[in-house]
Amino acid sequence: MKPLSDPAVVLAALRAGGALSASVVTASALEEVRARAEASGRVLLHYAQPSANGNGHSRVLTLGWSPHATPSPEDDNAYLVRRLTPTARLTWACCLGLAWPDRSTEPHPGESFSASLVIDVAAELGLGSPWVKNALYNDLIPAHLVEAFGSGLRLGPAAAAIPPAFVEAIRRFHDQLPRPDQIPVDTSTSESFEEDPD
């Protein structure tokens, strides 16, 4: 595949697909994309993603928010944003809980998980299987929060772009994220995380 050298095309691909392999973008285009993203309040993020065949990692690009431009619609309600339904949010919480067992680590890329496990965890909360499937395949995957990985699922590029402040906030109620009973929450890391470094 011919490397992409037009920054506008790279940005359009990032917007449309949520992520793009860094190997298909030229170095000069990458710099220009970074500058243009920063000028519009976005940041170009890189993350290493395990390849589907298990041989090493690939470098992937996605767009995040710069700290001063991160929207905060929940604070001022100045503009309308699309919000997920409660069932989709709960399904997303299940996915996050399965992919992020250790709260001392970063949630992305996390661990892969299966759709059936998500359905089982959600069922324990009383969420029916059709609702979970609908949320997974019609809300979370199109929003790039979750993506298909082999025969299973993993967190998508939108999860990699969650602002650090949001990650820290979710880390505070990490133990409440739904998980199957057999996966114990690592309390030792929880305690060490809360310890005052001083």
């Binding site: 243009r36 905060s72 929940e74 699309r82 919000r83 997303w92 909360l125 929003a143 979710i170």
Partner: protein, 425 residues
Amino acid sequence: MDPIRESGDSNDKALLRRLRSFIAPIANDASAVTEDPHALKMARDLSEVFADHAGLTGLTKAEAEHALARLGHHDSALFESRFELFLRMGLISPFLEKKHQQRYVLDPSGLAGLLVFERLGARGGVDEMLLLLDRTRWMIERGDLDRAAIKLCLNRCRHLLSVYAAKLARLVGTAPISELIDEHRNHEGTQIEKNVHSLNKLVTDRFSGDHELGDVAFRLVEAELVYRQQVLAAVARVLDQGGVTLDFSVLTAEQYLTAAREGTAGELADVGTNVVVDPPLPWIDPGSLQDAIEEYRPRVRVSVRPPVPTAGGESDPIGAMRARHERVVRQRAHRMERYLQGRQGVDLTDALRAAGWPSAAEQLMEVLAISADPDQQFTVELGQMLIVDAQGVVTYMHPVFLQRTGSRAGQEAKLQPDAGEKAGT
């Protein structure tokens, strides 16, 4: 919703947010400043109503409420609570300091306070900094200040400049561009530069041999320099980022309206050339995620057992039937006693014939029923003779004789509903 009213409410909300830090030094607790923009609007309109009133003796409470209703305030509960509060805090005071005064006047300090609040809300306190610089210079020129007071005023000016510079630096680094634009609109770098330099010149001229005052004035100039750099940095970020990103919040709504009216068709057509619209991806903040985890309850239809009837709530149907029967029997016995009028027997033939139809049949059935009851001491005998009356209401019947079989006292004791109970007790 009315966009103008909505915009006014949001402006008032921003004003109230800003006033909290203003009021903080003299606040009793964190709720010292209301969060309801309607309360602020009512205070503003109430002051206007009092100020507009031509008379010198003030307004009654009813007159004030009526005038406010004309301005669109129809919430009488809010009016009552705010009026009482304004009265307690002195924004409104009785015309005479005596009990039961019906007329009230507005305190000018309250009206001035409203003006201060509005200026503070609109300008973020930058006017106060300009005012302090102006007043310091003016008082030095007039010779109203001694050396210590001059030093104090110069230091206060420097503190204000340093605090505003730090605030601007923080906003330049972290704030959304719309917030930076709002803040930048309040600042007048050129005017402040001019005032600070003239003040510095005045101090160095007047107190040429006083190195300490000269040093304080020089530090004021330094603080102004840092402040001006931050003002310029704010402008640079607004121009750089606002221009490149086509951030629509860079200009005010009025400026867009002017552009739409005065711009050429070509210029207006170019506005959207470089606009990129992202698909509306869902927004998930940590709060909504936690709410979903904590609040989700599955919609399960569970059959609920009907509530157990309370013991005294419903009467016993068998008991009720029995009581009803006893009441009917008692009424029949009373009726027989009325027929007998204390005698041992009576001929009911004429009475039944006179009763008409179907009353005659009903009464006859009553008499026969009580005769058949072994507990009752009445008996009925029907005569053999057949009385036929083709013209009468009762066309034919046999003579009916009612007789008492027991003593009258015993019968009367039976007629008492609680006779048995009394005997038992």
